[in-house]
């Protein structure tokens, strides 16, 4: 089953929450004496956010030190963070992280290379779309992880297997988003292009493609986190020897491995944040103009 359905715009999952009702706007300081300086208002989310993170780490430290968990194995937050810092400087560990990142990237790029041209074609030809839609609807909900054992047999448990699983999972959201992007093209713009005597290729290149890019980028944003999830899952199930998932599983079987496991999980979270950040930056760079146009 595909991780993420089509999303026409970066709706619920990705949205920045709007301020709720009843909040005084930043400029109006007249709330009965408790005047907060504007700089403090601006810093408020950052301050509270850091307080939240610190509070979490502190709770973790206390729970671990006094053994409040049913099984007294959890290392304290401080030890975990120290271990995480060590791991980031550790060559063999980082090679595993890079193996996972690289497999996810290869799979994602392969999925984009297949899904975007296919989506453009299917978006522009309703006949082709008719012939393929049932197959797509049947294939899309299948869990890509199910094909891991088969792929291990065919290509082995390495990069090819992981990248294929990632590609298989990322294909459908990208495809449906591309088709949606093509369908969102302004019909008048296409007709205008035709009256200029543009060829089919020129219309595609100058009108349909720019109109579809934002939707494709939404698809990429969605599938980036999917790619990491599938890659780690495939490493477990396929019994890979390299990659973050395999490393974590190996560590969990060592007697003193729990520190490394906790640290590895923290690094995995940071990795996820980093990857999401990179894609958001790309989206800002290449997708922002189109959204402005949409709003106007």
């Amino acid at each position: 089953m595909s991780i993420e359905r089509v999303q026409t715009r970066p709706a619920p999952t990705e949205a920045t929450p709007a301020p709720p009702a009843g909040e005084p706007s930043a400029g109006s300081g007249r709330d009965g004496g408790t005047r907060v300086p504007p700089w403090l208002r601006r810093c408020r989310p950052a301050l509270l956010g850091s307080a939240g993170v610190l509070g979490f780490l502190l709770t973790w430290e206390i729970v671990a030190t006094f053994g409040l968990m049913p099984r007294n194995d959890l290392p304290p937050a401080s030890a975990t963070l120290v271990r995480a810092a060590e791991l980031i400087g550790d060559g063999p560990f980082m090679r595993n992280v890079l193996a996972t990142l690289w497999s996810s990237a290869v799979g994602l790029i392969a999925a984009v290379a297949i899904a975007v041209p296919a989506g453009l074609l299917l978006g522009m030809s309703s006949r082709l779309h008719d012939f393929t839609s049932t197959v797509v609807e049947l294939m899309r909900p299948l869990p890509p992880i199910a094909f891991v054992p088969l792929l291990v047999l065919v290509v082995g448990p390495g990069l090819e297997m992981k990248a294929s699983v990632v590609a298989l999972g990322c294909l459908w959201p990208l495809l449906t988003n591309t088709i949606h992007g093509v369908h969102s093209t302004n019909g008048v713009a296409i007709s205008t292009g035709r009256t200029f005597g543009w060829t089919r290729w020129q219309v595609t290149r100058r009108i349909i493609w720019p109109a579809a890019v934002p939707s494709i980028l939404v698809g990429v944003r969605i599938t980036v986190s999917v790619a990491l999830i599938l890659c780690v899952g495939a490493e477990y199930i396929g019994g890979s020897t390299t990659g973050l998932g395999s490393w974590l599983l190996q560590q969990s079987q060592l007697p003193q491995g729990i520190d490394s496991v906790c640290a590895g999980v923290i690094i995995a979270g940071l990795l996820g944040l980093l990857v999401n950040g990179v894609v958001s930056a790309l989206d800002h760079r290449f997708g922002a103009w189109a959204r402005q146009e949409e709003d106007a």
Binding site: T13, G52, M69, S126
Partner: protein
């Protein structure tokens, strides 16, 4: 999900032509698969007919339809998935609403939330192994803990995006806290919540299979890897089929529930647009 039919071309005959064409391709592909595997006779690639027949004999040929093997191999997985997801949904929606309704709490936990949501769920498996053990509770807690973040985050952002006007209208009508929650906030956020439920279900299936890999004695994931390791390729394909059916049917079920629960929403869209 947007069913993509270009407006204007949806004439009467097209309503039948489009699905007909779609199924034509699907049937043709399965036929090619059947012919190709039958002529090839490879051990790795049984024919689709053999796979379906194996599934029938294995799971659906009992005296009252389901066989003992079905209860041994499939039911445990279904139970784990259902319990894990249910916990994830209940916890995710409740905490999501709580955070979404309070600005201070939201600002406190937002960085943590982003961190947990960005973490690829399956990395939690080794942690769960060490902290919870190797039993059923490990599998259920892995599914619950891994799948809770998308639903929590989606609920939270959907609640924050409830139009201010709706809440103001509630105030004017002097609705209490409970009534505001059940008659304004939750209905307005329901589309976002459903999107979260879908994402968490797909993630839950991945976590289920990953969790049934280690120290398991039953379940679809166990059967899948066991049959691969013992070179029982027909069985392996049958488990792939079972897993595909799980993905497909859970999707179908959620779509049906969504259609019923969100009927008012589509009606409203039809009126206002």
């Amino acid at each position: 999900m947007t069913t993509v039919t270009t407006a204007g071309t949806a004439t009467g005959s097209r309503r039948f032509v489009a699905p007909l064409r779609g199924w034509l391709t699907a049937v043709a592909l399965i036929a090619i698969w059947q012919v190709w595997t039958a002529t090839n006779g490879s051990l790795y690639f049984p024919t689709p007919w053999e796979i379906v027949d194996n599934a029938r004999v294995r799971w659906f040929s009992g005296s009252s339809l389901l066989t003992e093997a079905f209860f041994r191999e499939v039911t445990p997985s279904l139970g784990r998935l259902a319990v894990g997801l249910l916990i994830a949904w209940v916890v995710g929606i409740s905490i999501g609403v709580l955070i979404g309704r309070s600005r201070v709490v939201a600002e406190l936990v937002e960085p943590l939330l982003h961190f947990m949501r960005a973490m690829p769920g399956p990395v939690l498996l080794p942690l769960a192994l060490v902290l919870v053990g190797t039993g059923n509770s490990m599998r259920i807690s892995l599914i619950a803990f891994g799948a809770v973040w998308p639903i929590l985050f989606n609920t939270y952002s959907a609640v924050r995006r409830v139009p201010v006007g709706y809440l103001a209208a509630g105030k004017v009508a002097r609705l209490g806290r409970g009534a505001t929650l059940f008659r304004i906030v939750l209905p307005a956020a329901s589309t976002g919540i459903f999107a979260g439920i879908r994402v968490s279900t797909a993630l839950g299936i991945i976590l289920l299979i990953a969790s049934e890999l280690v120290a398991a004695t039953n379940g679809i994931g166990f059967g899948l890897t066991q049959s691969q390791r013992s070179f029982q390729f027909l069985d392996m394909w049958t488990f792939i089929l079972a897993l595909s059916a799980l993905g497909y049917l859970s999707n179908l079920l959620l779509s049906a529930v969504e259609r019923v629960v969100l009927r008012w929403h589509t009606l409203q869209l039809a009126i206002t647009h």
